[in-house]
Every structure is written in C-alpha cells, then in structure tokens.
C-alpha cells in the first residue's frame, strides 16, 4: 500500500497554481480523488481548518453557479474573500484569479448586478492580484463591449496598454499585444462607421475633408495596434480581416498581400483554412491571374476538401487549358461529395453529372475509374441506396435526377438508385428522365463496350 500512495503524491512544481492534484504513477492527475485521500496528500497531517473551510466554500460557490443560484453564490463569495489572508502564500497568490473568475461570472448573471458594480469589482481585483492586471483589464473591456459601452472599453484598454509591472515577461507581452489588438479592433469599428458616413457624403462637401482626415489618423493608429499581434503565431481571423480591409482602403495592396501571405503560409502559424480563404478573396478582388487563384485554392482543397469554395475551384479548373487541371477538377467534385454535409448539394451533383459526361466524351475513362475505384465500395451505400432514392425523390426531384444520372454512369443501369428513379412516372420530369436514360446508356462506365 505504502509504495502506491507514495507514487500518488508528487511534489508540485511551483507554476502549479491550482489546488494540489492527485497524480497517479502514470502522470495522470485525478482531481476527484483529492477529497478521498486528502490526508495522504498533506503527508498525514490534517489540512488546516482554514484551508478546509475555504475549500468547502469554493465548492459551494461552484455548486451554486451550476445551479444558477446567483444570489447564494454571491453570499458564499462574500465569505470566500477571506482566502486573501491565507497564511499559505501559494494559495494567497492563486486566490485573486479564482475570485475574479467566479466573481465576474456571478456579477454577469446576478439579477441585481449592474455595470457600476462590475466596474468597481474589476477595478478592485485588478489591484489585488497585480499579476492579473492585464488579464482582468482585457476581460473587463470585453464585458463593457458586451454591454455596448465602446468608449469605456477603449479607455480601459488604453490604461492597460501602458501598464507595466516588473520586467516584461513573455506572457505579459502576449497579453499586451492582445490588448492593443482589441484596441485596434475598436478603432477599426469606428473607422468603418466613419467610412459608411463618408460614402454618404459628397466629395465636394465641406465636411468630406475633415472626415477623411479623421479616417487617416485612425488608420495609422490602428495599424500600429494590430500588426504586432498578427505577427505572433496564432489564429487571429477578425484582426487580420479588419487590418487588411484598412490597408486595402488606403491603397497599400502590397502590404495587404504580404500580411495575408504571411498569415496563410507561415509555417509557425497553425493550419487555418480561413487564412487561405482571405488570401483567395483578396487575390480575386485584385483580379489576379487564374493560375495564382488555382494555386491558392489547391492548398485550401488539401485542408478542407468540402469547402463551398471548391465548386468555384472546380469552375476555375474546368476553364483552365491544362489537362491535369481538368483531371483535378473531377477529383475536386468527387472530394466534395465525399462529405456528409455535402450530400444534398445539388450544384455539386449537377456539376458532377455534367463533368462526368464531358470527361467520358473526352476519352478520359481512366480518370473516372481512378476516382471511382477508391469509392466503389462505399458510395453505393452512402449515396445510392434505395433509402436515399426514395427520400430524395420525395424531397427534391431535381436532386434525385442528377444523382440518378451519376449513379447510372458509375454503377450501370442495374443500380438501385437509377432503377428507382427511372421507374418513376412524373409528368413534368418524364422528358428529363428519358434523357438521363439515354445518357446512361451512352456513357455508363460499366461495360463500356455495350
């Protein structure tokens, strides 16, 4: 027994802010075992009464929060403040963050809470846990934003931006960047509002000049605020988007392209499909050559083959002169329809039906077979089962017809989906079904000789 329990308790590292956790020999921690072996964890000594009370109080607060008893949680919180005087320095240091987290949640939902209360609480907390100043400031600003108080939020962020404590650590730097970026985002918001106003004004108007001058100032400030964050690896979609929009507005196309290229292709950044989408949309606005657009979408295709831009990608590839682009065009369509979310995309089916015929007429049976080989054991069940034939026909006859054509080409006349649709007697679609039958007879890849 003894060697097991020794295995269980490992000394904590000093960066562990949370309650001491129970670790097993495997390195996994078990927060719920804390209660059961509390005495073991403290080395046989019983926890101090104070620690016991504060722990109990904390769990009462959490319980009340989960039961939406805000009033009660606030009452418990009132008692919990005592932890700030704990003699255990570890706990004392960790306490302000816990109090802030729970307290702000209580104040967010508490029926009697208002913005003033929240402001007072936040200001108090910022100065109790000096180390949490930046984090609390940011969250405070977000709270104000949530309540539509942009001015106050901006002021708050400006305060936080200039705040320094001791040596600038890396974690502080990230937070300061984030605070600046949010400030930039707020400035972008005012800027875009001004832009809207400007678009309603006449260029010869007296007010136009002042307004545009205003905007220029804003842009300069914003770019300073945003660009620091954007250069650190991460997912910064809204910041990048607004930054690029401003750069574009002032004609700095190269700057915008650089930001977007960096955001999409820098290896340090996590793989982010949105980065490629922004770049593609930018290049499209710029009227970049088709080759360039295709190369951007090719990467997006590799990350998210089910994206709705893939149909656009297919159109680009279809229009291209290169043979391997035509082949990729077929691959892209098959790829889109592989995904569960795209099975009812009628455009994709329409494209596939049309492009299959086109490819087969162009004597590229091998392309089709290559795509079909990896799918022939599961597409019939996934797309062309009799269940789908019935339900598609009931819900969307046009979709059913397109699918029937594809099914007929890929699986032959005997396939259940095609048979079911071709047997349907529908006044409006009779002609279409007849055409489908003819196409299938002509193009089906099953027994192509017949």
């Amino acid at each position: 027994m003894s060697d097991f329990s020794e295995e269980l308790i490992r000394p904590k590292t000093e960066d562990d802010q949370e309650e001491s956790c129970v670790f097993s020999g495997t390195g996994m921690s078990f927060p719920w075992l804390q209660k059961h072996i509390g005495t073991v964890a403290t080395g046989g000594k019983k926890e101090k009464d104070f620690a016991q009370t504060t722990n109990a109080c904390l769990s009462f607060i959490q319980e009340a929060l989960l039961k939406h008893q805000w009033q009660q949680a606030a009452e418990f919180m009132h008692s919990y403040f005592q932890i700030l005087e704990d003699s255990d320095s570890h706990k004392r240091q960790a306490a302000p963050e816990i109090i802030w987290k729970l307290g702000s949640e209580i104040l967010f939902y508490h029926p009697k809470s208002n913005v003033e209360t929240f402001n007072t609480f936040a200001d108090r907390m910022k100065n109790i846990g000096v180390l949490n100043y930046l984090k609390i400031s940011l969250q405070h600003a977000l709270y104000l934003l949530h309540h539509g108080m942009l001015e106050d939020a901006n002021r708050n962020l400006s305060h936080a931006e200039t705040w320094r404590y001791g040596e600038k650590s890396s974690s502080q730097e990230v937070l300061i960047n984030l605070i600046q970026a949010y400030k930039g985002l707020l400035q972008y918001y005012t800027w875009s509002k001004k832009k809207m106003e400007l678009s309603t004004l006449d260029e010869d108007d007296y007010a136009y000049n002042t307004a545009s001058q205003n905007m220029l100032n804003h842009s300069w400030k914003t770019s300073v605020n945003l660009c620091a964050l954007i250069q650190t690896p991460g997912v910064w979609d809204p910041f990048v988007k607004s930054y690029v929009e401003m750069l574009e507005f002032y004609g700095d196309q190269d700057g915008a392209r650089e930001v977007l290229t960096n955001y999409a292709y820098d290896e340090k950044f996590p793989s982010n499909p949105n980065a490629h989408i922004y770049l593609y949309n930018f290049l499209k606005r710029e009227k970049a050559p088709r080759e360039k657009l295709i190369s951007v979408l090719k990467i997006l295709y590799q990350i998210v083959p089910s994206h709705k831009l893939m149909l656009e990608f297919h159109r680009l590839l279809r229009k291209s002169e290169k043979e391997d682009h035509h082949k990729l065009g077929l691959e892209v369509l098959f790829g889109v329809l592989d995904f569960a979310g795209c099975t009812k995309n009628i455009t994709a089916w329409k494209y596939l039906a049309k492009y299959l015929r086109q490819t087969l007429m162009g004597n590229h049976l091998a392309w089709v077979q290559e795509e079909w080989n990896s799918r022939k054991n599961w597409w019939p069940g996934f797309h062309f089962s009799s269940f789908w034939a019935k339900s598609d026909w009931k819900e969307d006859k046009a979709l059913a017809c397109e699918k029937a054509l594809v099914a007929g080409i890929l699986l032959g006349k005997g396939c259940r989906y095609f048979r079911f649709i071709s047997k349907q007697d529908d006044e409006v679609l009779r002609k279409k079904i007849k055409r489908i039958k003819k196409s299938v007879k002509k193009h089906s890849i099953v027994n192509p000789g017949l």
């Binding site: 075992l33 996590p270 592989d338 599961w378 069940g381 996934f382």
Partner: protein, 777 residues
C-alpha cells in the same frame, strides 16, 4: 492466542490488519478457492513423503510423517474460511512445521507476484474505471417519437441485455410497456451504442472481449447480425453515422478496425504507442468524422484523424494534450465523440467533443489543434459519457449532456451553426444526480437509510436522453443507469428565457413517481443484506462439542436455566452452575527456554531472520522434538478450552471483539471447486499407483465437496448442524429473493418527475459483478 501468519504479499511492514488488508484477502482467498489445484498441487507432490495416506493405525516412528486421515478429520471440523484463528491440533501443528518452509517461500512468492498484478489493476481501476466509457445505456427510437426502447445490461454479472419498451406520453411520466426482453450474453456488457442510419436502427454492444451488432426492426425486435472476438480486449466501439452497419472497434493492442457485417474486419490503424507522449494506458477510442472514410483515433494523450484509404501511419493530429489547448499538467483525454449526426441537415458536421478530467473542448476537424471552445467542467468524477441532442425547437441551441461516473450531470447549450464558431448559450447547469433524490424519500431507520443511501450512490454506468418531438412543449427525457441495476429518470422542461428575476426551477416529484419510488424502496429493503464477502473464521466445532459434552455431564446449567425460565423466577448463580471464569486464557507457562518470548524478543530487536535460521537448525536436531511436542499439546488444549468457553457464552453476549466476526456472521457458501475430476487427476499424478485408490478416497472426503454439508457429515455435532442449516437457507433466500420484487417493480413502470430523478429498479443486484480475478490462468 497467537495470530497465525497468512501468506503475505510482500515483505511489507508489519502493520495490523487494516481494512485495506482485509480487502486484499478477498482476491487472495478467491484465488485459493478457484485455483486450489494450482496453488497447492505442486506442494502436495513435494511433501508426499511426509504424508501417510493409508488410514492404518500403525503409528510411524518418524515424526515427520503425518497421517492424512487424522489430519483431514481435524480439518473437517473447520469452517471453509477458517484459517487465521483456527484451532490447531498437534497434528496440524506438525504439518505446518513440515510444510512451513516450503509453503512460506513458493506460495508466497507466486501469490505475491499475482497479487501485485491484481492490486496494481485494482488500483488503476480505483483511480479511473474506464471500462464503461461511452455508457451502457441506449435509447432506440421506435415507430412513433413517443415510443422507444431502453437497452441496458442487467444481472449480477451485467451479462443480460435488456430491451425495455418505454412510452413517453407528452406531459406526463414515461411508462414501461410490459416486461423487458432479455438476451443472455457471454460476458459483461460495457458499452451499448445505437444509431439510426438511413432508416435502419442498429445496436452495437461492447463486452470485454467481444463486440456484437444487432439490427432493430421497426417493431423493436433485435436480430443479431454478427459477433466479433477481440483477443486483447476491446476498449471502444462506435457506429458509423454515414453507412448502415459500419463500426469502428478499438482494442487494447492499439489497433483500430473498421467492421461491416458484409465485408468483415479491416484493420485501419495500429500503433501500440500513444500519440503525443508516452502514456501507459492501453485505452483507445475511435469515432467517425464528416468523411465516411476518415476516422478519429484517440488515446489518453491526444486525438488523431486518419484516412482509412490512405497509406498506413499517416494522419493529422486533431487534438494534443499540450500548449495549443493550454492543458494542465496531468490532463488526459477521457472521451472523444463526433458531434455531427447524419441528419437531413447536419448542423455541426465537423465538430468533435473532447473531454478531459478538467475541461471540455470542442474541436473543428477543419481547424485542428486549436480548440474552438474550452470550458472547465469541474465535475467531481470522471466524465465518461456525453450526449448531444437535436434542438428542442427550431432555432434553439442544442443541449449537450455531460455525465460523470459519480452520477453527476451537466447540461450545456451549444449554439452556432454553419460558418459561425460554436459557443455556449447561457451558463451551464448541473442537473440533480441520483443521490440527490435521497431527501425525497421518507426518513428510514438508520440501517435502512444507509442501505438506501448506498444504493443511490452506486456509480453510474450509462446515460441516455431523448427529446420526443411532441407538438406542444419540448421535454428532455433523461435516463441514467446505475451499477446497482437501477434506471433513474428525470425529465426537463424547456423554459422560455427565465429573465433576471426568476428563481431557479425547483425539482419535484409527481404522485406517480412517489408511489413508484416507495414500491422500489420496499422491494429494496425486502431483500436481506448480502453477507460480507469475507468473514473472519470461527472456531472448530468438533473441539467445542467435545467440551460441551463433557460439561453436559458435569453441569446442570441448561436444566437449571430451563426450570428457572419456566417458573418465571430470577436466575440464580446455582441454577447455572459454576460461572465461566472471567479473565484472559491461561498463558502458556514459560518453560526454561520459552520459544515464544525468545521469538518475540528477536522480532522486537529486528533479528527475526537470524532467530529463524537458528531455530530451523535446532528443531531439525533430534533432541528437541519431544519437548516441542509437549508444548504443542499444552497450547492446543488451552485453545480448545478457550474456544469452548467463548462459544458457550455467545448466546447472550455480543461479538467478542470488533476485529473478529461474530459467530452469526455467515461464511460465504463455498464456491464450487473447479471440476473435482481434474483436481484428482492432478493429485494422482506422481503418486504410486497402489496408493492412488486410497488417495481418491481421501479426496472424496475433502471438505471441498460442496454437496455434502459439513454439519450433516459429522454425526456428533448437534449444534454445529443447527448452525449449518441455519446459515444455508439464508444464503439461498438471497438468491431467490432476487426474482419476485424485480418483476413487481418492473411492472410498476417508469416514473418521472418534473425535475428530480426517480428510480426504477432491479432491487437486488447482489454484490456488484464478481469478476473472475485476473490472476487466474
């Protein structure tokens, strides 16, 4: 009285018998019962020359030879569990001296290793029991939205799969329709998964070493499709939301297989190592993604996306226990689940839920590694099941239920469809757990109250939920299966935005729920409590009887007592005869060379081993033997008189010491030994042929023979037979009592309430699953 040494697992400390050691003895004694041939046969062979198998009277001159017949006679008077404090005859004493060195070493080391393995396993299980990950309760929708089936395991070993049809009438409590259907399986059910794909309802079940697939017809009948054996043990099973009948199965070996009844098994991934960093847990999990040919493979350290058609070994990490998700130290993945359902319009087709012991993460497979959402759930037990439900009304956020092993439940609301990132709508909420319903029961006497509390506290092993799409008001029906075999139900009403001043909704029981729960409670309390698994042994009856008979001759106690009672007068000293002398039993007289005190002294000074060596050498010398023998007899007679007195007084006095079980404590009915034939053969091997018949005769008389009750076999034991028959039927009652209440309560139907749980039960699952210890071969 000296405590006998019991084979010790390790050269551990000399601690008193603590509760932990007691539960350690359980697997050990089970092992000795279940695998007696393994534990003792080789030793028997070794010690063959020390036994005299013929029952001849001729006394051997050699002190190292023990007559088996008399030895068995002595042993025959013992309770099956009688070891540590058993009465000892001088023959047994001799036997133990001969066998001591052999028994001490080989058995202890063999058992030690096995025990260590078993203990390590139990310790792991105590920390985290992941066998039921995914949950063993499922809701199979029926023909109409209001009717469905609950599928769950029942029975002591969880090896009976039950199909209970349940009706959820709008606005009132659910009703169980008829008795549940049963399917008996070969192993305990760990996970039940159900899914309706293209109008076909499928049911997959995971046991420890088997997986099975059923198809549920529209009428609710289950037809078996296929069974799969997983040699290394299955850890997870999931049904494809895209293709009917397709399954992903993962095994402890690190392999993940796709399985379809038509095409059979296809191994798509194999890696005995964990994904991100080294973790010893063999737990693996697999689920589907938005692409029917792409799976997620998870272990404790992370989750990976793999393309089953691509080259083996490649893939993309979807989640990593590390900085991207700002994981804590020691944080491990406990559950991963694909949240996209193949509905007419899949709402979150690319979202995956990942639960650790601290937080819940939502990860989009298009944007791997960086979670879309992280929320600290703070559940006080391991979150092993989650259910995402369709939105209760158009445009509403989707309810996500998170269940912990301790019965804790949390309800979250997931909003955000299509392009927007998922977010939590409103603050998460904790739902009442089964043990919270204790206050709704009437106050009972402490013992019953305790039993009820224990029953309600049984760990949860499954969670199912459904929103029957009725016209008026959306209701969320929630079922929880406990390890004791109860199904708890609660239903939640959707509240329009409560507004800032509304009070938290209160939980309440409807009259039907109260009635049902009181029926359940009655059935629960009707079943007598199960006997303890392990009881301290009692004393030899034979010796006791000897004493009793002697006393009968010389005492007029019982007659006097009876006369006094008949006359209704005060019982006087002279009626009973001489009172039993109080005080401790006479200590063995210290001889000129007192071994016991010498040994104790040596042990006290930490020179026990040296003493033992010395003793070994001395006792084998010829001169010591007679003296030793004399002391033994002295000691044994002390024992017998002591035991006699103790047992005589037990009619009026409470149990002698808390340490020792009271004589009332019934021993467990002996487990039927593994086929008597095979044990005999094992014994017989290596025994000279002329002795084999004798040996067989003795074997036949071994107390192991379960069908001959000991009490009956020894004709001179008046009281002992009384006791034996008293204990037997009681244990039988335990067995039979299981059946009738179950049926009653089942018919008593499902219950509900507007927010609290109600129960519906199988009142007696005796002793949670008595798994064969893993140390077996």
């Amino acid at each position: 009285m000296r405590r006998h040494t019991w084979p010790r697992a390790y050269s551990g400390s000399q601690r008193p018998l603590d509760p932990f050691l007691c539960c350690l003895l359980v697997p050990l004694s089970r092992f000795l019962w279940d695998h007696g041939d393994i534990a003792f046969a080789p030793l028997g062979k070794l010690m063959l020359e020390n036994f005299k198998l013929e029952g001849a009277r001729s006394r051997s001159k050699k002190k190292t030879v023990v007559s088996v017949k008399s030895l068995l006679q002595d042993l025959g008077g013992h309770q099956p569990w009688g070891c540590p404090w058993a009465f000892l005859s001088y023959r047994q004493r001799r036997f133990s001296i001969i066998g001591g060195p052999v028994l001490g070493k080989s058995v202890a080391s063999l058992l030690g290793a096995l025990l260590h393995e078993e203990l390590a396993m139990r310790w792991e299980q105590l920390l985290l029991d992941d066998a039921f990950t995914g949950g063993a309760l499922a809701w199979v929708p029926g023909r109409t939205p209001q009717v469905g089936q609950l599928v769950y395991p029942a029975g002591g070993a969880l090896d009976t799969l039950c199909f209970q049809e349940v009706r959820l009438p709008p606005g009132s409590d659910p009703q169980a329709l008829g008795d549940p259907g049963h399917i008996r399986l070969r192993g305990p059910v760990r996970q039940v998964v159900t899914r309706t794909v293209q109008g076909e309802s499928l049911l997959a079940v995971r046991s420890d070493y088997h997986c099975a697939l059923w198809k549920v017809s529209k009428q609710g009948r289950a037809a078996p499709l296929q069974v799969l054996q997983v040699g290394k043990g299955a850890t997870g099973i999931s049904l494809s939301p895209h293709l009917p009948g397709e399954l992903a199965v993962c095994s402890r070996s690190g392999a993940v297989c796709l399985w379809t009844p038509q095409d059979g098994l296809q191994q798509v991934y194999k890696d005995p190592e964990t994904l991100v960093f080294c973790d010893p847990s063999p737990w693996r999990w697999a689920d589907f993604t938005a692409h029917p040919r792409v799976l997620t493979v998870g272990d404790r350290t992370g989750v990976k996306i793999i393309d089953t058609q691509g080259p083996p070994g490649c893939g993309l990490l979807l989640f990593r226990g590390g900085a991207e998700a700002s994981c804590r130290r020691g944080e491990r993945v406990l559950l991963t689940q694909y949240l996209g359902e193949c509905g007419p319009e899949p709402q979150l087709p690319t979202l995956h839920l990942i639960c650790t012991q601290f937080s819940l993460y939502l990860v989009d497979e298009r944007l791997p590694l960086v979670p879309m959402l992280k929320w600290e759930h703070n559940l006080p037990s391991a979150p092993l099941w989650a259910r995402l439900l369709p939105p209760p009304c158009p445009g509403c956020p989707r309810p996500l239920l998170l269940g912990g092993q301790g019965g804790h439940l949390q309800l979250l609301h997931l909003a955000g469809e299509g392009a927007s990132a998922p977010r939590l709508a409103g603050p998460p909420q904790s739902l009442p757990s089964s043990s919270d319903s204790l206050s709704a029961f009437p106050l009972l006497e402490p013992k019953s109250q305790w039993r009820l509390q224990e029953r309600l506290k049984a760990p949860t092993i499954g969670l199912a939920a459904t929103i029957p799409s009725s016209a008026s008001e959306p209701v969320l029906s929630l079922f929880q299966l406990s390890a004791a075999g109860d199904v708890f139900h609660q239903h939640l009403h959707l509240q329009a935005d409560p507004g800032p001043h509304s009070r938290a909704p209160t939980a309440s029981w409807t009259p039907q729920a109260t009635a049902c729960c009181s029926r359940w409670l009655k059935a629960l309390l009707d079943v007598p409590p199960t006997p303890p698994v392990w009881a301290a042994p009692t004393f030899s009856h034979r010796r006791l009887l000897g004493c009793m008979e002697q006393r009968k001759v010389e005492q007029k106690g019982p007659e006097g007592l009876r006369a006094a009672m008949a006359a209704g007068r005060l019982l006087r000293q002279q009626d009973v005869g001489s009172p039993p002398s109080a005080g401790p039993p006479p200590a063995p007289e210290p001889g000129p060379e007192d071994e016991l005190s010498a040994r104790l002294e040596a042990a006290w000074e930490g020179r026990m081993a040296a003493w033992w060596e010395r003793q070994q050498g001395r006792s084998s010398g010829p001169g010591r033997q007679p003296k030793r023998r004399k002391r033994r007899t002295q000691l044994s007679s002390t024992f017998s008189s002591l035991s006699g007195r103790l047992d005589l007084s037990d009619a009026t006095s409470p149990p002698h010491s808390p340490d020792r079980a009271s004589p009332e404590a019934r021993p467990r009915p002996p487990v039927t030994p593994p086929s008597q034939e095979s044990t005999q053969e094992l014994w017989a091997r290596g025994v000279p042929s002329e002795r084999q018949q004798t040996l067989r005769d003795y074997m036949a008389r071994l107390p192991l023979r379960g069908d001959a009750p000991r009490g009956v076999s020894s004709p001179l034991s008046g009281t002992s037979s009384v006791r034996a028959t008293r204990s037997r039927p009681q244990t039988l009652q335990d067995g039979t009592a299981e059946l009738p209440p179950r049926r009653n309560t089942r018919r008593g139907a499902a219950v509900s309430s507007s927010q609290t749980s109600s129960v519906w039960a199988t009142p007696s699952r005796q002793q949670a699953l008595r798994k064969k210890p893993r140390m077996g071969f």
